[in-house]
Symmetry: C2
Subunit: 219 residues, 2 copies
DNA sequence: TAATAAAAAACGGACGTTCATTTTTATTTA
DNA sequence: TAAATAAAAATGAACGTCCGTTTTTTATTA
């Protein structure tokens, strides 16, 4: 048998990785056996080793390809945000992050596997420097907003954008993976609106706000 | 040898569970062997089965005792919050949640283990009905704040309190377990202040706010 | 001494990985 | 065009090790 074409190899690897991912996200890495993977992929046990040196290599390959997919997805999302700190855009961000979480919850489960079973070895840079990355993406927009006077004094655009990103993100993760079951007592639509409003103008009434501003916290 | 006293049994079980937890949070459940646990606890392999029927029983016992500890800790925290939606109290909430996360990060790792390796069997109710629980704890305070007119119209006290709780919580979890490394580009102190301010009065300037209020989102 | 705890040995099975063997198929040859 | 070839792919049994758990043996002490 002559050597398989690169494309044929890619197809076989995809089949194997799909099977492996299915088991990993259901049971974790160590509880998944090579026999499980072989059976689901409809491939012999030994043949797995023609494509991967070890079980961990399968895990790493899954993560590598997923990381580039997610990078593209995030880029797509940011491309649709033209005024990152405008309420309607913030809400749209939340909406798109919700779809991202729901459509690719596997990815985040893999991240938890990595934290638990590999001491976060493969996802180490997921959140490190997150604000810097947003700063790089939206530097111009943030500066324009500042010049226009859109923001209250003291507000760090990149930091609050990251905070909003994390809040949306975490909301959908809890709903999808941690049995949240509408943990804010709101529908997803209402939650998006509520979080957007919080970031836009907070929760205090005008009267209470005036009182608060006279008091302490100004770090 | 006569039967051990209940207290002696409790001490031995604690030793075993401490050893088991140490391994579980480092490698996950399935990657931890009974031999690992026995060695760390300085107990023979067979003797483990005089105290626990199975490996999973050790895991469950750890979770059970931790759940009551965390319940107490949270109760302590809420006892110190007399005006849940007041900025200074919100900040104090965040501060205390930060300590909770940092001092008991094991607990949250166990939760991730449960999500991954047990389909969230033991932590199922962690976030489900979270808002309802806060509503029950702070019902009177929320009503008083409403009567005083502290809050903007449309703000659901329990929902926004939960949102703040989740934001603080997630901030410290990312920092502690996911390599956040000051992911908001702020120190913990600054992050607490920033998040508190967002919840108090949002990020928009007065001018921008007026413009926004004329526009769409009012769900 | 009698009951209990602790330790040690043993069990069957499953693990990740290897490897000798068989099957497959694009290319070469007739 | 059809058969032969040869190299690669696929297979599944086998390897040594480790697994969770059970059983047996030994140590401890009221």
């Amino acid at each position: 048998m002559p050597k398989l074409s690169n494309n044929a190899i890619k197809i076989r690897k995809t089949t194997i990785e799909d099977a492996a991912r299915e088991h990993f996200i259901k049971q974790g890495f160590h509880a998944t056996s090579m026999r499980d993977i072989a059976k689901t992929a409809e491939v012999s046990l030994g043949n797995l080793y023609n494509y991967y040196a070890t079980k961990e290599a399968i895990f790493e390959s899954i993560i590598d390809s997923y990381l580039t997919v997610m990078d593209d997805k995030l880029r797509e999302i940011f491309a649709q945000i033209d005024e990152p700190l405008e309420p309607s855009n913030l809400r749209k961000l939340g909406e798109m992050l919700g779809e991202l979480v729901n459509q690719h919850s596997d990815f985040w489960l893999l991240m938890y596997i990595d934290v638990l079973e590999f001491q976060n070895r493969h996802f180490r840079n997921m959140f490190d420097g997150l604000t810097d990355r947003f700063q790089r993406v939206f530097a111009d927009k943030f500066e324009e907003a500042r010049l226009r006077g859109d923001l209250r004094t003291g507000v760090e655009p990149a930091s609050v954008f990251t905070a909003a990103y994390m809040q949306f993100f975490n909301y959908f993760l809890v709903e999808k993976l941690f049995g949240g079951n509408q943990h804010l007592n709101l529908t997803d639509e209402q939650a998006l609106n509520s979080i957007t409003k919080i970031f836009a103008y907070g929760i205090l009434s005008e009267a209470k706000l005036a009182e608060f501003k006279k008091s302490a916290i100004n770090g």
